[in-house]
Point group: C2
Chain length 326, copies 2
DNA sequence: TTGCTCCTCACGTCACGTGAGGTGGC
DNA sequence: TTGCTCCTCACGTCACGTGAGGTGGC
C-alpha cells in the first residue's frame, strides 16, 4: 500500500458527494461517471480504499460539464481527454472549436434540408413520380489534366480540399483551366471514409509543371454512360436509379472508375458546352455530369428466382428483425 | 435443395449489377449492403447458389434509398424494417413521420443553441466568470397536490406528457391550481431514460377527485436547499455547481428526492411569490426553483489524498486513453 | 493460369446500459 | 441485523468496419 497525502494542508479537507447524489445534482448517470473514471477522464476526488466507493467534490462539476459540452459538440471521449489537457484559451483548442463550428453549421444545414423534404412529403397526399433522368452513350476523348490523388478521411471535405490544392497549384504555376473540374472515384466499391479520390482540372498540353499536382492524360474511353443533372447529392437517389435502369435495359455494365464533372458549381456558371436551355432551366444551380465507362454485357443472362423464399429456406438470416412498427 | 421460380415468365430475366457496381452507383458501402442482406432489409434479387455472389437490380435502388432516408431521419434499422412493411401512404407511416418531424425540429433547435454558445465562446477572448447562483435553506410546508407518477422513456417529453395529463384531469374535474407545477425525481441517481418522475399541481384540500391523477399530500420537509434560476436546462451546469458548492461549504448532504418548481414557464408569468425584482430582471423567461431536502453531514470528514497518484499506483485504469489532440 | 472479386466468420468500435453476484455502511 | 448503496465483471447494444483466410470467375 502506498500512503501519502495525509500530511497535506487543510485544503483537502472537505465534505464530498456520494456518487448517487453527484449523479442527481449534475444530471449524469452513475454508469457514465464510472465510465469516465475508468477512462481517467473524471477521477473521483477520493476513492475509499476498502469499499472502493467513489466520492466527488463540487469543484469537479465544472470539469464534468466541460466534458459533457465537448461531447455534445461531437468530440469523441478520447478527443475530449486530449482537449482537456490543452490550455482552454490556447490556439489549439480555439482552432478545434472553429473547425467544429463549421461542422455543426453543415450539420444544421443538412438537418434543415431533411426537415424540408420530410415536410414536403407530408404535405403531398400523392407523391410526384419523378421522371427518371436520361443518359447518353458516348466516347470520352483523352483529356490532359493537372490532378491530385489521395485517400481522404471524409468524402466531401476531402474532395473539396483536393480541388483547392489543385487550383492553388494552377494559380501558382500560371496554368489556365480549359474546362470544368473533374472528380474520379478510384475505389472498386463505394466507401465513405478512406476513399481513393482524384481531383483534376483540364489543362492544355503546353503546361510543363503544376507544382504539387501531377500532369497526366486521362485515357480514351470508347463508351461511357453520361448523365447530366442539377442539384447536389440529395439528387443522387434518382440519378442512380435512372442511370442503373438505363444501363440495365441496354445490357451495359460498368467497367471503369466513375467520373463526376462539375459543369456548373458556382453561381457565375463556368466554361461549358451545355445546351443553353439546360442552364436557363437551372440558373445558378449546381450542375453535374456523371460519367461511367461501360461495355456490353456478356449476354450471360441470369434469371432471378423468387429469392425471398429461396433464401429463407436455404439460409435463414441469423439475426432476423422482429417486425411490426412500435 | 428447394428449386422453384424457374418456370416464371420472362419478367425475371434481366441483367444485374454485381455488388461492387451496385455499391458505387448507389453510393453505399459493400459492407452496408451485406449488412442489410443479413437483416433481411434488402435481399439481393439473385444470389448465386454456388458462389454466394450477390446480384442486384436497378429496381432495388429505390428500396435502398427508402431505407437510407429513413435511417437518416433517425429511425433504427429494426424500425425501418417495420415501416417498409406498412403502406407508405397509410396513417401509421404518416403519424411516424409527423412525430419525427417534431423530433428533428427539436434537434435543430438544440443544434442552433449549441452553435450559438460555441460562437459566443469564440468571440469572447476572456470568459465572463459567471457568479454562482446562491441558495437558501428553508423548510418546505406540506402541499396538497394532484399528481401522476410514471417511468418515462424520455425525460423531457415524459415530463411534459405527465403535466399535460395532470392538467387535463384538473380541467375535467374542475380543480383549480393553487400554485406553480412541481416535478419530483424519485430515482436515487440520475437517468435519462426510464426515469421515475412525478408531475404535480398544487390543489386545495377541498378537492375530492382528480380523475386519473392521484390526490396526495407532499410531506413536510424540515430543511431544503432552494435555488431559483432563470433559463432552461442549459443553465444546469452553473446551477449544479452553485448548489453543490453551497451545500459543501455548509456541510449539508441531500436526503430526499429533488423537486423542480416551475415558477414561470409561460410568457404570461403565473402565480408566484417571487421577488418582483427577479421577474423584472427576467421578463418572459423560464424561471425555475430547485429544491432538495438536506440534513447536516455526519461530521465524518473525509480527507482527500492526492488521488490521481494514489489511483495510478493502486489500480491502473484498464483502458487508458491515448493523449494528445489530433 | 493468375490476380481479382467476392465470400464467410470472428472480432472491433463507441459510449455507455443491463444485469448478475457480491460487499460495505448506517 | 436488514435493506440499501455501491462495487466489479461480463456481456449487450447499434450499425456497421476491419481483417483473416478462403473460393469462384474470366
Amino acid at each position: 500500500m502506498v500512503s501519502f497525502g495525509w500530511n497535506e494542508p487543510n485544503e483537502g479537507e472537505e465534505d464530498m458527494f456520494r456518487i448517487s447524489d453527484f449523479s442527481r445534482l449534475a444530471r449524469v448517470s452513475v454508469k457514465t461517471l464510472r465510465h469516465y473514471d475508468r477512462l481517467g477522464l473524471l477521477v473521483p476526488a477520493y476513492v475509499d480504499p476498502a469499499s472502493r466507493y467513489r466520492w466527488y467534490t463540487a469543484r469537479q462539476v465544472s470539469r464534468l460539464q466541460r466534458i459533457l459540452s465537448l461531447r455534445e459538440l461531437g468530440f469523441s471521449l478520447e478527443h475530449v481527454a486530449g482537449i482537456l489537457e490543452e490550455d482552454p484559451r490556447g490556439r489549439t483548442v480555439r482552432r478545434l472549436l472553429e473547425l467544429k463550428r463549421e461542422d455543426i453549421g453543415r450539420q444544421l444545414e443538412t438537418g434543415r434540408q431533411r426537415l424540408a423534404q420530410l415536410e414536403a412529403r407530408l404535405r403531398e397526399s400523392e407523391p410526384v413520380e419523378p421522371r427518371l433522368p436520361d443518359a447518353v452513350l458516348q466516347p470520352l476523348p483523352p483529356i490532359r489534366v493537372a490532378s491530385r490523388r489521395a485517400r481522404v478521411a471524409d468524402l466531401d471535405r476531402g474532395a473539396q480540399e483536393l480541388f483547392e490544392k489543385v487550383e492553388a497549384d494552377a494559380m501558382r504555376t500560371g496554368i489556365r483551366a480549359t474546362g470544368p473540374p473533374l472528380l474520379l472515384y478510384h475505389d472498386r466499391s463505394f466507401r465513405e471514409s478512406g476513399a481513393d479520390l482524384e481531383a483534376m482540372v483540364p489543362v492544355t498540353h503546353e503546361a510543363r509543371s503544376a507544382g504539387g499536382s501531377t500532369l497526366r492524360t486521362l485515357p480514351f474511353v470508347p463508351a461511357a454512360a453520361c448523365l447530366v443533372y442539377s442539384g447536389g447529392y440529395e439528387q443522387w437517389a434518382e440519378v442512380a436509379r435512372g442511370l442503373m435502369a438505363w444501363l440495365q435495359t441496354r445490357r451495359l455494365v460498368p467497367v471503369g472508375p466513375l467520373r463526376e464533372v462539375f459543369l456548373q458549381f458556382q453561381s457565375d456558371g463556368g466554361t461549358l458546352e451545355l445546351p443553353r436551355q439546360f442552364l436557363v432551366e437551372h440558373p445558378g444551380e449546381l450542375v453535374t455530369e456523371m460519367q461511367i465507362p461501360v461495355r456490353a454485357s456478356e449476354a450471360r443472362r441470369v434469371r432471378a428466382p423468387r429469392v425471398q423464399l429461396a433464401r429463407r429456406s436455404s439460409r435463414p438470416s441469423r439475426r432476423p428483425i422482429r417486425r411490426g412498427v412500435r
